[in-house]
Structure formats: structure tokens, C-alpha cells
Amino acid sequence: MSDFRLASPQLESTGLMPSEKKILLDISTSYNFRSLRPVGILRVEHELITAFTKAYGDRLVLGVYDPAKNAYFTFPKDKVESIIFRNEQETGTLMERALTATAKWRSWVRVARFALTAPRRSRQVSGTGDQTHKLRERILADELLRMSNDEFTMLIKGLRALARLRPRLNGRCDQLEQINHRAHHGILQPLDQSLRDLDNQIDPTQIGNYICAGTFWSDTRHIYAYDMRNAHGWRTHYLIYDLIPILWRHVAEPHTRETFPASLHWVLWGVDQIWTISETTSRDLIAHIEEYGYPRPDDSWIKPIYLGCELERKDDPDGLAQNVLARHKLEPGKYVLMVGTQEARKNHEFSYRLWRELCQRHNEVLPLVWVGQPGWAIDHFLQMVSLDVGLPHDAIRILTAISDPELDMLYRNCRFTLYPSLYEGWGLPVVESLNYGKPCVCSTADSIVEAAGTSCEAIPLTQVETWLDRVWALMSDELAYTEALARAAQFKGYRWQDFRTNLIADFDRFEQAMAPRDVTPATIPAAELPSEEKAV
């Protein structure tokens, strides 16, 4: 059995030295989601823009992928600050989505209405071509947004059941899921027409390196990059955050848990360098590669680059953030914070049961504050919490629309934080908490322990009594709390500056290792080049 490695892409004979070829940095995610707060993947992509612009100047091309044209378009660098970083241009496509109906039968009525109305309206648009396709998508999106995400799940479940009888329906379901996903995030047709100008289309023969730190699974950009690697010798570099849609797919958002593994498949068959955000993700990725028989990239080209953890301090000119505590009846130092999207993987359920039990055992339990947007399939759980007569009123407060300055205020004034997540790629809220000097009682998920080291209070989720004791001690025992503060203070933190430096250094290392190939183009006589390539 051979130790199979991915073949290096064939050198493309454009006459350009590889070092003269452009570096294409994919910023599609930042562009498509420019209306959202720059956290998570968006923040990382912003950091890459900053780092590569500074390091490579004119060699860097910022590209936005258009799946309809299967091509990248150049994004003007002089508009990065205003459009990408500061979002001064709205996407203009955000549409409101219905909330889940108050009664189940009403939800089913909505599903039935969609099934009756959407095909009829869609059929009324006659013709073919790009414009017709867009119009039909717009109609479907309009109809889909009349249902909540949970109601959409009901629809898809029904259609999938029918697909057992008529397998062709599976393709329709996939299309609907794509449109629903894009409509939900307001990226149905996100590309500004001026950006899609043909003159603006990136010539793939001019590209030497392709870098993607975004959501490569949300469209077909990974297939395009794979093909360009084979056709034009692109070197491809991906930043992979985690394998949640594979390893924890049962608690992952339904669309992503299908598209991510399918897209990662192409990536793993056509990648030259992989960055991850933790040793845990690197380890998970290599295990995935080994388990399923993917070609294993050279180990030296899979490297974790730790993210920074400083919160972006935005101005708060009106001083509204000061009021966040009063608005939610919170007293400084007298509440416990848990930050993260409300979804099963973050394990809000564990914290709820913990608080319920604490309130049964003790008086004067501090309120637990959940900060984050409701995520996928959380409605029933939140409803259960709100109906629980065994949970004292206001024992758990749910804050969903919190600005960065308000979050900053909440971190500064909490007593400690909680993070019982089942799995993370990195566990940013833990390091954020420690960065504020706040103790964090967290699960022993690998990446959390890796990120926070001994500064966090990691307890296995199976040891519920230990959790109860420790959380109560941090509320009621000043000596224990002081010791915990001291431990949190030892946390050294991570800086975005270090992330940028390490990333560029690793990219340079790769470039240098591949450097001998630079001499090859000069050895190819122009007469031997295919005519298409000579024209470049």
C-alpha cells in the first residue's frame, strides 16, 4: 500500500514566475455577510485582509466568488474599509422572517400554504436564463420567509419522507435548502452588479495562490478552486475552524451538516496548506483524513494558528451600554454570564438544569445571563425553560440583542462565566472571559482546555455534583472566588497581532519551501506554450 499524497498541481505555463503571480484572498463571506457583526469567521477574514494586504501589497487580490458565473470578481481594496470593515453599504437584500406560529396546526397551515402557493407562483415566471432563474429564486425565498426556520424544517422533513417514494424530490429539497439558507442570511443575490462586471472578473491564469478562510461550504467556490488547482496550478490554502458538522452533526444546523462534509471532500482532495484554529481541530482533521481514506497532506502543512481574543472595542457615543445592567435588572458582580448562540451544542440545557438544581438547594443563587441569538432547533427548549415553575422567576435571563459595547459591559461586571459546551473548535467565550480576568467554569472539551490551559475551571460534564459545588462556591465563598480570580489573572491571552504574524510567517514558509519551482517557467521555451497561454 502506498503512502499516498496529493500530487502537486501541474505548473501553469503563463510565463509568469510563481512569485509574480497574484495571491487571491477569498473575501466572499465578509462581503456576503457584511451586514452582520464582525465576529467569528468574519473577524478572522478581516484579520486576513489586514495581514495579507500589509505583507503582499499589490500581489494580493481580494476576490468575491459568484456561484452563478462560477468566477471570482475583484473587490476594490480602497472600499474594504468602508464596505467590509464598517459596513457603510447595506446588502439591500435582508428580508424579515416569520416567527414560529403560536400553534402547531398554524405551522402546518403555513407549510401547506407554501406547498400550494410557491410552485404556482414560480411557474408563472416563464422563460429561461439568468434573470428568470433569479426571479424564481426570489419568489421562492419570499414564500420561504413566510415560515420560520422550524416550520421550514417541518416542510423539509415531509418532503424527505416523500422522497423515499420519489427520489427525484431529494434534488428539489437540496435546492430549497440552499435558497432557504441564503434567504435567511439575506444573501440571496448579494453581489452588487458593478462588481460582476466582466472586466472585473479575475483571470485564473494570473493566480498563484488561493487563500480561503471563509464559509467555503456555502456555495461552489471549493469546486472552482479545485478545478483551478488542477488546470492552472493554483496553490490552495484553507483555514478550517472545526469539524462540528461532521463530528457533532446531530447538533449542527441541518443545511451546514450536509454542505460542509460535501465541500470539505473537495477541499481535502485539492489542498496544499491547511491552517486550523487549534491543535484539537488539527487532530480532528487528521483523524478524519485517516479514517475515511482521504489523501493526507504533508503534516508540516497542517498547522494551528491561534486566534486573538481581544474584543473589538466599538465606540458607545450615547453611553447606552452603561444602561444594559439596569435594563435587565442586573447588579455589578451579582450575575453569572454565559455567552454563545443558543443551540444544543453549547449546552444551555446543562446550565439550565444546573441552575434549577442550585435554586432548589440554596437561597440567593445569582441570576444566570445567557447572551446570544437563538440558533437552530432551540425553540422547544426555550419554551420549556420559560414554562418551568420549578425555576424561580428571573433565575435565568435571556439577552438576545446585545451590542459589542454592551457585551463588554456585561463581561466587565459579571462575577464569573459559564461554558459547558459539548464541543468547540476553539471556545472563544472562555478565553474572552479570562481576558477580562473573569473565572470561567467550563467543560473539559479538548479545545477549551487547549485554549484556556490551567486558567479555566474545567470540569467534566459527567461530574454534575462537582459542577454544583464549584459554581455555588464561586457565588458564596469569597476565598474560593479570590483564588479563582487569581488563577484567571494568570491567563496570558492571545492577540490578533500574533495571529496575523504567525499566519503570514507560515504562508512565507510555504512559499519558500516551494520556491525551487520558480526557476521552471524560464526553462519552457515560448514556442512550446499552447497558444492560449502565450496570449496571456
Binding site: 502506498s2 499516498f4 461532521i246 452533526r249 450536509e258 462534509p261 481535502l268 479514517e291 481514506g293 482521504y294
Partner: protein
């Protein structure tokens, strides 16, 4: 010599392994100059491919209904409710009487329970030689809950038979252990296949992408082998290539919860063809880049292995698939894995063209049916001696 064969399936359109072996035995025996009669006693609901002649001896639907309603097995409990099939049994016995065989060959032990009394008491049939054959030791393969009853039924026929035929040395040893020391040793007649015409004109390719071919019947171990070896996520397949699955195992895979994992990825990479007619299977074999044998358990030997070997293409097999074909280890283009991970790596290397095959038709000629079944045909000659 007149030889009658009885099996629990028709063979006019052989689809699953048992049918194909029975069909080959009948064909090779006839080609050797013997007069043959095949009498299938089967449930037509399970084998709709049976032709009109075969359906003359099909069991009555009420028989199957009886078994189903009483949660009984169609093999082990075949005698239960057999009164509903009295007419079919009578027609089968009449065919035997008219044929007046020198040898009656029972394939698998189940039918013998239905016919033992009739045969033993019929003046025209009582003195015929009895041959027992099976491509498994049933008592070893069946659910352990039924093993002792199966061993009793199987052992009875194995002991009583004048001649026993097995597909592997291991199976032969197991049968010999059931027989008295003085009995004739079990004859070894391994599985084989009809030699494909590898030089025949290429049939049109049914698929546009490179693919690996997996064939398997609705035998549960086939599906388990698939899950063990291919797994829920066939990462070893390069983009724009596929794994194509033919045979009844499709239904087992589709009914499994693991089938729902990574649905989108699998819909891109896995093509389920189901039961395919012979010419379609030939076209699929002709164009396959690699033939995969993800077999991790089961007794006997695999017809699929012989067929894969004969096509001279790269074959990636788990070691249990090579039972009976051990001599092929080390022959060009035969890649054997001992673990599922190793299997996936071999598949990856085969699909990327890193593993090739230079196997010749001469190297695998011994696995053609006539060569494999020659000891059995020779043994029929002496069975009546």
C-alpha cells in the same frame, strides 16, 4: 446418468449467489453429458424472476402467509403450513418419479425435510443416491438462536447423504466432522464464474465518471461489510468519481440509519443501481475502474470474488472475501486489506490509478465454473458405484 437437483430458488434468471451456483452446477453437469432435471420449490413472491416451468412447483401463497403470521422462518420452518403447498409438492415428486433419477442433489438442507418421507417410501426414488451441497455451513452462519435446530437438520442430511459437496476446505472439514469416519470425504467444489469475454467489444458506459463497483445480494452481512469498509463517508473517492452498488444490498443500505448520514455527500459519490440484468452488469464490470469486495464475514466463498478476479481489473478485497482464493494473493492487481482503514486506502490508491493490474486470463482460468466444479461432476460418476 440422470441427476435431479432441488433448490429453494429458481435458476432460469440467476441473480443471487445461490442461484448462480445452482445454475452453474446444472449447466456444467449437463455439459459433461449427464441428463439433468432442476426442480425448484420456492416462494414466487421472493423470486418473481422464475419462469412458467419453474412456477409449476412454486409453493402456495397461503404457505408463506402461514409462516409470516406465525413469525416462522421460510427456511428452518418450511414444513410448518406445508399442507397449503401440497399440490406443488405433489407436482415436484411427480416430476422426480417421471425423471427416475440416479442421483438427487439437494442444495441446502431445508427442502429435504419436506421430501424425505416421500422419497424414502417411493419405490422409484428410494434407491437413488443422495447428494448434499451448500455454499455455507448453515448452522455456523445462522443466527445463534437457531443454530442448534439448524445443526440438527443439516447434520441429519449430511450424515445420510452418499456424497457431500462444499465450497471451501473449512466448510468441507465442518461437514466431515458431522459425518461418520467411514463416510466418503466431502468433495470440494469451490465457487467460480463464467469467464467473461474481456476482449469483447465495449458496451456503452452507463456512467460518465470513474467508478468502483460493489456487488452484493440482500444478504445482511453484505450490508455490514459495506458499512465496515466503505463507511458512512467514502472520502477515498476522488471528486467526480463514484462507487456503484448493484444487487439487493441496496435495499438493506437504504433502510439503515447510517444511510442518512452525510446524505448530500453520499448522493454525489454513491450510485445505487439495485438489481440489474446480466448485460447491464457486464457493461458495469467492463467500465469499472476497480472492483471492490467489502466483505468482512460470512461462510463459504464468494462468487463475487471469482467474477472480480476473472475481469482482470484491480480488485480491492477484505481478506474474508479471499476465502477459497488464497492462491490469488500476490497476483497482479489483487489488493487485500486486513482492516477497513487499509481497505479505504487501497480504494483511494486504486481510484487515483496508483494501483493497477497486469493479471492474465491464464492466471485466473482455474476459477471458471467448469474447472471449479470438475471434482463434483467426477464425483457424481462414482456416487452410484
Amino acid at each position: 446418468m440422470k441427476i435431479a437437483f432441488l433448490s429453494q430458488y429458481p435458476i432460469s434468471t440467476p441473480l443471487h449467489g445461490g442461484q448462480r451456483r445452482m445454475s452453474a452446477i446444472v449447466e456444467v453437469t449437463r455439459s459433461a453429458g449427464h441428463e439433468v432435471l432442476h426442480v425448484p420449490l420456492f416462494f414466487a413472491q421472493y423470486f418473481p424472476e422464475g419462469n412458467a416451468l419453474e412456477r409449476e412447483t412454486a409453493f402456495d401463497a397461503a404457505h408463506l402467509k402461514h409462516l409470516t403470521e406465525h413469525q416462522l422462518r421460510e427456511d428452518l420452518d418450511i414444513v410448518e403450513g406445508a399442507q397449503h403447498s401440497a399440490a406443488a409438492l405433489e407436482r415436484a415428486v411427480q416430476k422426480l418419479r417421471n425423471f427416475a433419477p440416479d442421483v438427487i442433489h439437494f442444495e441446502q438442507p431445508w427442502l429435504y425435510r419436506l421430501l424425505e418421507t416421500v422419497i424414502d417410501s417411493d419405490p422409484g426414488l428410494a434407491k437413488t443416491q443422495l447428494v448434499y451441497g451448500s455454499q455455507n455451513v448453515e448452522s455456523q452462519l445462522i443466527d445463534p438462536a437457531f443454530a442448534s435446530r439448524t445443526a440438527e437438520i443439516e447434520g441429519h442430511l449430511v450424515r445420510k447423504a452418499d456424497l457431500v459437496v462444499a465450497v471451501s476446505t473449512a466448510d468441507a472439514a465442518a461437514f466431515d466432522a458431522m459425518r461418520p469416519d467411514t463416510a466418503r470425504p466431502t468433495v470440494l467444489a469451490p465457487n467460480g464464474c463464467w469467464a467473461p469475454d474481456v476482449d469483447a467489444p465495449q458496451m456503452s458506459n452507463l456512467l460518465t465518471q470513474d467508478y468502483a463497483l460493489v456487488a452484493g445480494s440482500a444478504h445482511p452481512p453484505n450490508a455490514e461489510g459495506y458499512w465496515d469498509c466503505v463507511g458512512t463517508l467514502p472520502g477515498f473517492l476522488p471528486p467526480r468519481s463514484q462507487i456503484v452498488i448493484v444487487g439487493g444490498m441496496n435495499n438493506l443500505l437504504g433502510a439503515d440509519r447510517r444511510y442518512q448520514f452525510f446524505r448530500l455527500l453520499n448522493s454525489n459519490l454513491v450510485t445505487h443501481m439495485g438489481q440489474v440484468p446480466e448485460e447491464k452488469l457486464t457493461a458495469l464490470l467492463q467500465h469499472a475502474k476497480v472492483i471492490a469486495l467489502p466483505i468482512t464475514e460470512g461462510g463459504g466463498t464468494n462468487l463475487k470474488t471469482a467474477e472480480a478476479l476473472m475481469w482482470l481489473k484491480p480488485v480491492v478485497a477484505m481478506r474474508p472475501a479471499m476465502r477459497g482464493y488464497e492462491a490469488m494473493e500476490g497476483v497482479s492487481g489483487v489488493y487485500i486489506a486486513d482492516t477497513p482503514r487499509a481497505f479505504r486506502r487501497l480504494m483511494r490508491d486504486a481510484m487515483t490509478g496508483a494501483l493497477t493490474s497486469a493479471r492474465t486470463a491464464q492466471e485466473v482460468a482455474r476459477y471458471a465454473w467448469p474447472a471449479q466444479l470438475a471434482p463434483l461432476v467426477a464425483a457424481y460418476q462414482t456416487a452410484t458405484v
